[in-house]
């Protein structure tokens, strides 16, 4: 058999596995495009976990009580862990951590555009936990069935840790809504600012999404952007109403025939602007990450030097 034939047979075996709902594991043959598509998606997901620490970290020192501070620290610590699980999953595809971080810094690799918005008040920490983590969970639950084994297993681990994230955020909103007028207004203002960016988290409409069709065929993605977005809206509207918040969408209304909420048009120009680097905090987010990375260089160097010393000591003993 010549080379083309070999890869054709392999490609057929690969697709048959996917069609049979079997997972692809790191040492399996896979099409180069599948590998690249996965590296793009997993690393984007990893970067989002890590960059997402910034808007929340912004409030750790200013949390209104010691308990809220401990909770927020625990959540941000979890997000760092999620980043690690995902970078490790991406590395099983033959890319290095250094390359991934470098692509983040050059802008070649993206992260969720929502983290380019500022967290202006304490209520924003409530809105982020409730809306942003809820949206992430809707997406991540569907990705527990993604076709690549290490990615699917990372999602299972992450989903287990996420439920406290949305609960603590919703709890902040609920507490504010039981408070004074100023506090209720603060909660509503946070919802007003975070609602639409949360809907954008699911990405472009199904018809416009660049990677969707192939990703669905390979079962990297399991449900369409619009499908996931609808589920999020249906859940969040009910949750908002239960604590007296008003979703900032005049076109929002229950559609009995569909069994879902209809909602207004998303401002895709804003999405484009923010994802392409011109949101309120893009430069700040990247600069902060780069700075932290550069300032940590001496720690990595010191650890490598220590490691080398230990090894040479062990060699001397042997």
């Amino acid at each position: 058999m010549d080379k083309a034939n070999v890869s054709e047979t392999e490609e057929r075996t690969f697709q048959a596995r996917i069609d049979a709902e079997e997972k692809i594991e790191p040492k399996d043959w896979m099409p180069e495009k599948y590998r690249r598509n996965l590296i793009r998606q997993i690393s984007q997901h990893a970067h989002s976990e890590v960059i997402g620490e910034q808007p929340e970290g912004n409030w750790i020192t200013r949390a209104p009580s010691l308990e809220r501070k401990a909770i927020l620290m625990a959540k941000v610590q979890d997000e760092a862990g999620h980043g690690l699980y995902l970078y490790a999953a991406a590395e099983t595809l033959g890319v290095t951590r250094e390359e991934l971080i470098d692509r983040l810094h050059t802008g070649a690799s993206k992260y969720a555009s929502i983290f380019n918005y500022p967290s202006l008040t304490w209520a924003d920490i409530g809105a982020i936990g409730w809306l942003v983590d809820s949206a992430a969970i809707v997406n991540q639950v569907s990705l527990q069935n993604t076709s690549y084994g290490p990615y699917a297993r990372a999602m299972v681990r992450i989903c287990k840790e996420e439920s406290f994230h949305q609960r603590q955020g919703y709890n902040i909103m609920m507490t504010l809504m039981k408070g004074a007028k100023l506090q209720r207004e603060m909660a509503q203002d946070a919802l007003d600012r975070w609602w639409w960016p949360s809907l954008m988290m699911f990405g472009p409409h199904d018809g416009e999404s660049a990677h969707s069709a192939q990703s669905m065929k390979w079962k990297i993605k399991r449900r369409s952007n619009d499908d996931l977005r609808q589920q999020f809206v249906d859940q969040a509207v009910q949750q908002a109403e239960a604590i007296g918040l008003v979703v900032p969408d005049p076109d929002l209304k229950w559609n009995d025939a569909r069994g879902h909420y209809d909602f207004g048009a998303i401002d895709w120009q804003e999405f484009e602007r923010v994802i392409s680097g011109n949101g309120p905090c893009n430069r700040q987010r990247l600069a902060h990450h780069k700075n932290a990375h550069d300032e940590g260089a001496w720690v990595r160097e010191a650890m490598a030097a220590h490691e080398a010393k230990q090894r040479s000591k062990a060699r001397d003993v042997a």
């Binding site: 909770i71 625990a74 297993r153 439920s163 604590i243």
Partner: protein, 94 residues
């Protein structure tokens, strides 16, 4: 010492999509041989689709006596669990 076989730990993935699980250990001269032995010893009835072997001496493990310093501080952090946060009426799941 040189002609003594080494101990290897064996991990088997029972099905695609699942983690490799530790199933036991065996003696072998090198890792290729350990892999063959593992196949013969641990997967005679189709128990797995993939095997990992790792030299036991390459494993760094925590000790049960480390438990306190490793895990103790986690007991007083109930806020890491969703169950701590009560939901208002009308919201059944979150």
């Amino acid at each position: 010492m040189a002609d003594q076989m080494q101990l290897y730990e064996v991990f088997v993935r029972s099905r695609r999509g699942l983690d490799h699980k530790h199933v036991g250990s065996l003696h072998a001269d090198d890792s290729a041989q350990a892999l063959e032995y593992a196949r013969d010893v641990y997967t005679r009835r189709g128990e797995g689709v993939s095997i990992w072997v790792v030299a036991s001496r390459d494993i760094t493990a925590s000790q049960e006596s480390d438990c306190e310093s490793f895990y103790d501080p986690l007991d007083d952090k109930p806020y890491r669990h969703a169950a701590m946060y009560e939901l208002p009426e009308g919201v059944d799941s979150l």
